[in-house]
Symmetry: C2
Subunit: 534 residues, 2 copies
């Protein structure tokens, strides 16, 4: 801390609304770190899973919510949904759904839906290889994931390129080091240079050995997802029974909207729910494209698809953990391009939360942006998404750090920008402590009218930890900032991810566990992995 | 709209969470405007004052709110506040406050405070020269103001420079053209090149003739504020009695925290409240500097100062319109620099709203950022501020468009960025219509599983107006965007403000009114304006 006088000069001497130059002298901000301070890793909040203690925002009334609910039940009753797997259809038929012979269509009476979803748990634990990184999913807990599934990757130095294992590993390392990233939402970028037949084996190996936070596996057919379950089991050193008691990975199930669940996704539900692992059931209902152009209609469709998927999880195994996913957005009606972080997106994210709470299941939202560069647009679309997710009561935030270009690339600098945003959201979720000590009557009495608080004992004993410390935000005054070359956020983010990668250390893993995991990967590779037609 | 097939190709074919390259083909976004489309003014929502129909976020419990309230009343009872004007002290003494002889200190019993604030109106109209631009202040109404009071101005072409009349006029023109800017929060930038003795006359002349939205005038002594009231009266063509029935300008009163109200500010309250014009009572309580380092303490101080100011307005004239202003933020404890749009700022903005609602007075918040450039930081600090303001139930948003660098400069490109954010917030506040038509059961039935909605009659009849259209956001696909030179948000904002300035036309003003206003300015200038010592 610099001297009192300088702090005083910096902060006093002006009012936010006062005009300059007429009466009040302007305050001047003094810049940045004290002279001679060493370069060091950017400061981070310690790892801790946040809770949303504030009541969620309700966008529609209880009656309106019931209307959306009713419309979606009518969709499932009268239109039905296509399930592209005979085994899934047979299970649903046995559970009481109406399945047309020779057709993929399944229709659900509303009582069947309402009765079946009741066994879905309101809250559960998603386990990590490091017990300190276990996550509670549901209730008022929230958890933030990495970017996932981008086909391309970009950074300021090397531009945009196709996903590859080197960047895949680096993005894992980055998200492992960043405290506000609580889990891996999938492959941060697709490692295209690993052949598809064995990609899941190498990719999960990297995820489980380079990091120790909870993981996602893709539902890309029966073999890949069972391999993933087995690798999660081995990495956690569990027997089968314990794995079934302790959900240790999750998979996102996207319906092929409108109203269809494809074969690999259905196999994902069948395999994962049977083993009591986590399903995140997320319709991708772009209003005006795969869903009605009206938000209420798109939400009714989203809700129908989500409920149908949740029903299947509970038919497979009552009590299996499942999350209600909302991903309704709009398209640019000029071009058909999906749009993200829009006012439509915000409201549907919040209404999705209202629906999930109605069914007492955890809610998944996302941090999304359509921006091509890490500019103001990337930031505002992301913060609007976070507003939707957090005020919507989101329990699981997909694509929390690094999602750019509507998901078409993962960005190194965006990872840092988003980690800054997520850290700020975590701090926003910290309760404001109100007690005699924090109300500070004595400090106000001591300082009195016209004084200042820099030197007060109340300030001195608290200032080091009083406020959230940013990692990326540049609060230097204009002159100091200009002398430093007028750096903008992406350049600083670029320096930060390099520092963090330098500081990265792999988490410890029991040698026997690591050998067992390696042996599994080796065996499955020697078996050819998963057959592909290329 | 391009053809169905192209829209389909653009929007279908991928899921948000699906991996690339293994199974699902990736969606490709198609770019921007149709070929041959003419350049035109950026699209804007029509002017309309928004309402916040969603329940505000409550950060602290009712009990905790009471504790802050109690602490602030204790501050006013036991510590008191310095009022640097004898007339104000005399009025307060007559109203029952305890004034020490020979001292500026005024102490208030809590019953006096609670009784006096009761006459403050919960809602009122702030009138503009154009009746279509009148604003309701209070209730669930919200209104967004321009940037105000910046000593410097900046744009991409000319960099940062001292405020001057040319830029002052241009920023007025811009905010007049931008629909989501509902009022002028002060001088967008200080026109330093007008001598201080007559600056208010020329500056208000510009404001009243270049624009027709509600205005602010500075409380810089008795003469300037009475000149401003007179100019507002003339510009609206009113007699004195009507002006007193129709609040036609507002002034922000900043206390000199801690616990002091300076002479010019007090004269502002005395003159404005006496004429039934609007006071926005805003303590500038930076936690750790002019207020306790703890948020609860800073809020207790804010509340004490706000209540004391509100009491004075009601002592001067019961029923006079007054707004509770919240501007509590934190400082960078390394440098003393004020920080804005922080997690601390968000929570105090929302708790400020809780306090204002407790007293049933309208609430003022702000759109603030400490960023020096129109980069990601400028955007995220602003959106976090807006989250605080909107979820805090803010009725009057100061510095809505253009505030940069903690208020030290007004930015042309930031005006555009903020107008984009404010337009998005307006759209977010649009109710989601839920009825049989929007629930779109028939459209879902028509399209069915696996189809798409582009060609559906339900879509075709609605797509042109279904979604908010951005002014600044770039939704083109990466390739198209890259071919266009990879433009980032500030460059586009730069082009937009130039287009808007080109399109600007002064609002009509009755010739007789204009002559009367000009005559007043001329007379007051010939009298020397307001004496200064330079």
């Amino acid at each position: 801390m610099t001297g009192d006088d300088e702090l005083l000069a910096a902060a006093l001497g002006g009012s936010p609304d006062a005009p300059a130059g007429e009466i009040a002298p302007r305050r001047q901000r003094h810049g940045g770190r004290a002279t001679g301070e060493r370069s060091r890793l950017p400061q981070q909040r310690p790892w801790a899973q946040p809770r949303i203690r504030y009541a969620p925002t309700e966008i529609v009334s209880a009656d309106e919510l019931e209307s959306i609910h009713d419309a979606s039940l009518r969709v499932l009753e009268e239109i039905g949904m296509d399930f592209l797997d005979e085994g899934a259809r047979e299970l649903l038929r046995a559970a009481g759904a109406r399945v047309e012979a020779g057709s993929e269509r399944v229709r659900f009476d509303r009582d069947l839906v309402l009765e079946r979803i009741r066994t879905a748990p309101a809250e559960f634990t998603l386990h990590a290889t490091n017990p300190e990184h276990h996550l509670r999913i549901g209730g008022n807990w929230t958890a933030f994931g990495s970017v996932a599934s981008a086909p391309n990757v970009a950074d300021l130095d090397r531009g945009r390129r196709i996903g590859n294992r080197e960047d895949y590993q680096n993005l894992i390392r980055l998200c492992q080091v960043l405290n506000p990233v609580h889990f891996f939402a999938g492959y941060p970028v697709e490692p295209i240079d690993i052949h598809a037949s064995i990609r899941h084996l190498d990719a999960l190996w990297d995820l489980l050995t380079l990091a120790d936070k909870p993981i996602h596996a893709y539902s890309l057919g029966r073999q890949r997802i069972t391999d993933a379950i087995e690798m999660a089991r081995i990495a956690r050193g569990l027997d089968d029974a314990t794995l079934e008691r302790e959900p240790s990975l999750f998979t996102v199930i996207n319906s092929s909207s409108p109203l269809r669940l494809d074969t690999p996704m259905l196999h994902g539900i069948l395999e994962m729910s049977a083993r009591n692992q986590v399903i995140v059931m997320t319709p991708f209902t772009l209003a005006g494209a795969m869903a009605p152009v009206t938000l209420a209609g798109a939400l009714a469709e989203q809700n129908a698809e989500a409920l149908a998927g949740i029903v299947l999880t509970q038919v497979v195994r009552p009590g299996a953990p499942v999350v209600y996913g909302g991903f309704t957005s709009n398209v640019d009606m000029q071009s058909g391009a999906p749009a993200f972080g829009t006012p439509e997106y915000m409201r549907t994210a919040m209404i999705g939360g209202q629906l999930a709470r109605r069914y007492k299941v955890p809610y998944r939202s996302s941090n999304v942006s359509a921006a091509n560069a890490v500019d103001a647009q990337a930031a505002y679309e992301s913060v609007f998404s976070l507003w939707g997710a957090i005020s919507g009561g989101g329990n699981l935030l997909m694509h929390g750090a690094g999602w750019m270009e509507g998901g078409l690339h993962a960005g190194y600098e965006k990872v840092i920008l988003d980690a800054e945003l997520l850290g700020m959201v975590e701090a926003y979720l910290d309760p404001v402590v109100v007690d005699e000590d924090t109300l500070a009557f004595s400090a106000m009495e001591e300082v009195g009218p016209g004084g200042h608080f820099f030197g007060a004992a109340h300030t001195q004993s608290r200032f080091r930890t009083a406020f959230h410390k940013p990692m990326l935000s540049d609060w230097r005054n204009y002159e100091t900032w200009e002398e430093a070359g007028s750096p903008q956020a992406p350049a600083k983010a670029n320096a930060i991810w390099k520092e963090l990668l330098n500081a990265y250390e792999p988490p410890p893993m029991d040698e026997a566990v690591k050998e067992a995991l390696a042996a599994f990967v080796e065996r499955r590779k020697s078996e050819g992995g998963v057959p592909t037609d290329f």
